[in-house]
């Protein structure tokens, strides 16, 4: 996959010297950066993977808290999940699809196949819109619970429901900021492939995390 920068990549001699990664990806003297960049890990993507490991650990801790707390609880009731959660799930999954469309368009634009920046920008905007729609949907779900008289502190079920959905929504907001960052980079035509890839990695992970949380809430709460 090519760079997302319209002009050919320029690599100064000075930057070449620090190849990183133990020199495995050392650029040959007459090196072609395009070959290199396709197989090289870069800090942005590695960083997101590491951050995702930490996020996984946090949610694992919260899950174990749920399991333990349910174990010691007498009279653990069940609350019916607001149905809107399922349409929210659909919206979030759709946003991953539009993000992948955006990736293709960005690539075509960077390769010069596509000359119009508006097309990839449109797909990114669609993703952003769906993300915001998801947040709005989650907010509606909270309002629906509230109208049933279920608040954060009402009982343990509702505590855990608000906890999981709230922490996940906070992470989605972080992903939306990442999307805005990618869009601003694309707008100035300085978007790097790795920036996009890192953002997409995070966004898809939040999708998968939501599917897991939905299953957890559905079966446990």
């Amino acid at each position: 996959m090519a760079t997302t920068i319209p002009e050919p990549p320029r690599i100064s001699d000075r930057l070449r010297d620090y190849s990183g990664n133990g020199g495995k990806n050392w650029i040959p003297a007459a090196g072609n950066a395009r070959v290199l960049q396709d197989r090289r890990f870069n800090p942005a993507q590695t960083g997101i993977w590491v951050a995702l490991a930490a996020i996984t650990m946090s949610f694992a801790a919260l899950t174990s808290a749920l399991v333990v707390r349910q174990g010691v609880s007498v009279g653990w009731g069940h609350i019916t999940l607001p149905p809107i959660l399922f349409s929210n799930t659909f919206v979030l999954l759709a946003s991953s699809v539009t993000l992948e469309f955006a990736r293709r368009r960005v690539t075509s634009y960077a390769r010069g196949i596509e000359s119009n920046k508006a097309v990839p920008m449109g797909w990114l905007a669609a993703t952003l819109f769906l993300g915001l729609l998801f947040i709005a949907g989650q907010y509606t779900a909270w309002l629906q619970l509230k109208s049933q008289g279920l608040y954060l502190a009402t009982n343990t079920n509702s505590s855990f429901f608000y906890l999981f959905t709230g922490v996940h929504a906070a992470h989605i907001l972080g992903g939306l900021l990442g999307l805005v960052y990618v869009m601003s980079k694309l707008h100035r035509s300085v978007l790097r492939r790795s920036t996009f890839a890192a953002c997409a990695q995070y966004w898809h992970f939040m999708d998968a995390l939501w599917l897991y949380l939905l299953l957890l809430l559905w079966t446990r709460i």
């Binding site: 760079t3 920068i5 990549p9 320029r10 690599i11 000075r14 930057l15 070449r16 010297d17 620090y18 190849s19 990183g20 990664n21 133990g22 020199g23 050392w26 650029i27 950066a33 290199l36 960049q37 090289r40 890990f41 870069n42 800090p43 942005a44 590695t46 960083g47 590491v50 951050a51 490991a53 930490a54 996020i55 650990m57 946090s58 801790a61 919260l62 174990s64 808290a65 333990v68 707390r69 010691v72 609880s73 007498v74 954060l152 502190a153 343990t156 505590s159 906890l163 922490v167 790097r192 492939r193 790795s194 920036t195």
Partner: protein
């Protein structure tokens, strides 16, 4: 454009102006020094708190005027109440465990040295790096702020066990806003540690220079890298734990607070929470935390020793590194040994006892590597080596106490005594402090371009070494006789005869503290007036000694680095240790 992707952030221009250069700097070297300085200040505060506690223990009616000024309620007329004693204990533990022991050897030296040791120009994410320091700084200010609010600091200990920590101000002085500030401070510290660990991991994975294979990395880099993983996964658990605690306190949830709980004759409006859940979550972080404190110490000592014994460590880089990986991994499955007497199932105690005894195996392997490496060595007894040997001694002494505590049967007698306090001060607190001093004496020339005074350094070592044993061996002995920890005075009849031992400890602790003034004088005087340091004063073989002291802004002055072999791999024909960095440097 992956290459510029990788380094666009790294190759920031040299900063202009005082604020960008020394305060909001994104240079990893400045951030490392900022962390070290923060830890020094924190260590001083923590030490003063321990003095106040020790004076009160030895002379329960002693007037400590500054305390009366600091907290008219907690210490009326300068004589502290039992509650205020607990507050001081809480803050001593919090400040020392988080802001000194977690921060200095990892974030302080690691930030300064790790990028240089892998041949990079900076950390992978310099701005995140700056953010993590300033978040830590705000967290530290919040922790200190608890002293100046009317209620005073929290009294629930650095472990903040629920439900005491979760029910709010009804639980006692400091449990209102003091505990809130504490929770916020620790949450911020978690965020900063997560950002810092992320930076360490990515820098080690992605920014190594040509030829710097994993097998050629400095042993300190290895330890920081392993530790960054442990720290990443452990603080990722403490952060949601703080969140749950804060929700219980402020939002009325019942994660940790059981139903029917009565505090000060008031029934708490909660139901069904589990105090054990808090202990599980806390110690799932808390036990890796003690290894987060000790692993950088392993790395620093393993890094320093080959230079001063003029030979590689026994087993090369592999044995010590794999021991560290084993310690780091096992540290996640032993947390229950903190809870033997918590009401947890005795069968679970057995389950946790076994890996706890297993974790001694890699620890002992590491100790044997250090000790056996001394055999037949041409030892140079410079201050960094003395402190490394001191570390080994303290770690062994503390570790031996661990055998008794790892077994539920002996632990149920020793658990709430000062035997435990002596144990963890030896094995985690002071060993890590000694390794931090070893690192300070070793790297000071590189960090500041001046040499420290060797004679003062040795004097400081011997006074500290003897002082530490006087205080903490006595503490373990009193613990074996049954002296209960967390008591502010010797109240029970059987404890009163221990008073002379308590006074001895207090005087030794005060002298031990006074000995640190030698260190402070040495550091400040040498910083400005010490003899200029050569590039490689110790004849060491890692990359940080192949640049000027202190290093230039981009660490190697724009040179290309190609590494051909590791710091402990010498030519087969040369039995002598080399006196310059072994990795060869190609051209300019």
């Amino acid at each position: 454009m992956a290459e510029t992707t990788a380094h666009a952030a790294v190759h920031h221009a040299p900063p202009q102006g005082f604020i960008r250069k020394y305060i909001f700097s994104i240079d990893h070297k400045v951030i490392g020094i900022q962390y070290t300085t923060l830890s020094l200040v924190a260590a001083f505060i923590g030490m003063v708190l321990s003095w106040a506690m020790r004076i009160h223990l030895a002379w329960p009616n002693a007037h400590i005027p500054i305390l009366g000024w600091l907290s008219p309620n907690g210490a009326p007329g300068g004589v502290m109440t039992p509650e205020y004693y607990l507050s001081l204990m809480t803050m001593h533990g919090t400040i020392m465990a988080f802001f000194v022991l977690t921060a200095a050897p990892m974030a302080g030296y690691g930030n300064f040295m790790l990028p240089i040791q892998v041949g990079a120009a900076d950390m992978a994410f310099p701005r995140l790096n700056m953010a993590s320091f300033w978040v830590t700084f705000i967290g530290f200010l919040l922790a200190c702020a608890t002293f100046f609010i009317p209620d005073g600091p929290p009294l629930s200990g650095w472990t903040a066990y629920a439900p005491l920590s979760a029910v709010g101000s009804v639980a006692g002085p400091g449990q209102g806003w003091g505990q809130n500030l504490w929770g916020l401070s620790i949450a911020l510290f978690c965020v900063a540690s997560l950002l810092g660990s992320l930076n360490f991991i990515v820098t080690t994975l992605d920014l190594r220079t040509k030829g710097m294979k994993l097998s050629r990395m400095a042993l300190s880099t290895w330890a920081w890298f392993i530790n960054a993983w442990v720290s990443l996964l452990a603080f990722a658990v403490l952060l949601p734990t703080c969140l749950l605690l804060v929700l219980d306190r402020l939002a009325g949830t019942s994660f940790f607070i059981p139903g029917g709980l009565v505090f000060n004759d008031q029934l708490q409006p909660h139901s069904g929470g589990s105090p054990l859940l808090f202990q599980h979550l806390f110690w799932f972080f808390g036990h890796p935390e003690v290894y987060i404190i000790i692993l950088p110490a392993f790395g620093i000592v393993s890094h320093i020793m080959p230079t001063f014994i003029r030979k590689p460590l026994v087993g090369g880089w592999k044995v010590i590194t794999f021991a560290e990986i084993a310690v780091g991994t096992l540290s996640f499955v032993v947390w229950g040994h903190h809870m033997f007497v918590s009401g947890m199932s005795p069968y679970m105690a057995m389950v946790f006892s076994v890996p706890t005894l297993f974790i001694t195996i890699p620890s002992v392997i590491a100790v044997l590597v250090w000790v056996f490496s001394l055999y037949g060595a041409n030892i140079r007894f410079d201050t960094p080596l003395l402190y490394s040997l001191g570390f080994i001694s303290l770690f062994i002494t503390g570790g031996i106490g661990g055998f008794f505590l790892a077994q539920p049967s002996t632990d149920s007698y020793l658990h709430a005594t000062s035997f435990v306090v002596g144990h963890f001060h030896f094995t985690m607190g002071l060993s890590a402090i000694f390794a931090t001093f070893a690192g300070f004496y070793y790297w000071f020339p590189k960090m500041f371009g001046r040499m420290l005074n060797e004679k003062l350094g040795k004097l400081h070592f011997w006074l500290s070494f003897i002082g530490v044993y006087c205080v903490f061996i006595t503490m373990q002995l009193t613990g074996m006789t049954g002296a209960v920890r967390r008591y502010s005075a010797l109240v029970d009849d059987f404890m009163v005869p221990l008073l002379p031992a308590y006074r001895f400890m207090t005087i030794a602790a005060l002298l031990l503290g006074a000995a640190q003034l030698i260190f402070l004088y040495n550091a400040i005087w040498s910083r400005f007036k010490g003899p200029k340091a050569p590039d490689n004063p110790w004849g060491a073989t890692t990359l940080e000694w192949d640049t000027t002291s202190p290093p230039p802004f981009d660490n190697f002055g724009g040179r290309q680095l190609i590494v051909y072999h590791g710091p402990m791999q010498y030519d087969g024909e040369k039995s002598e240790m080399q006196t310059s960095p072994a990795p060869s440097i190609a051209g300019t």
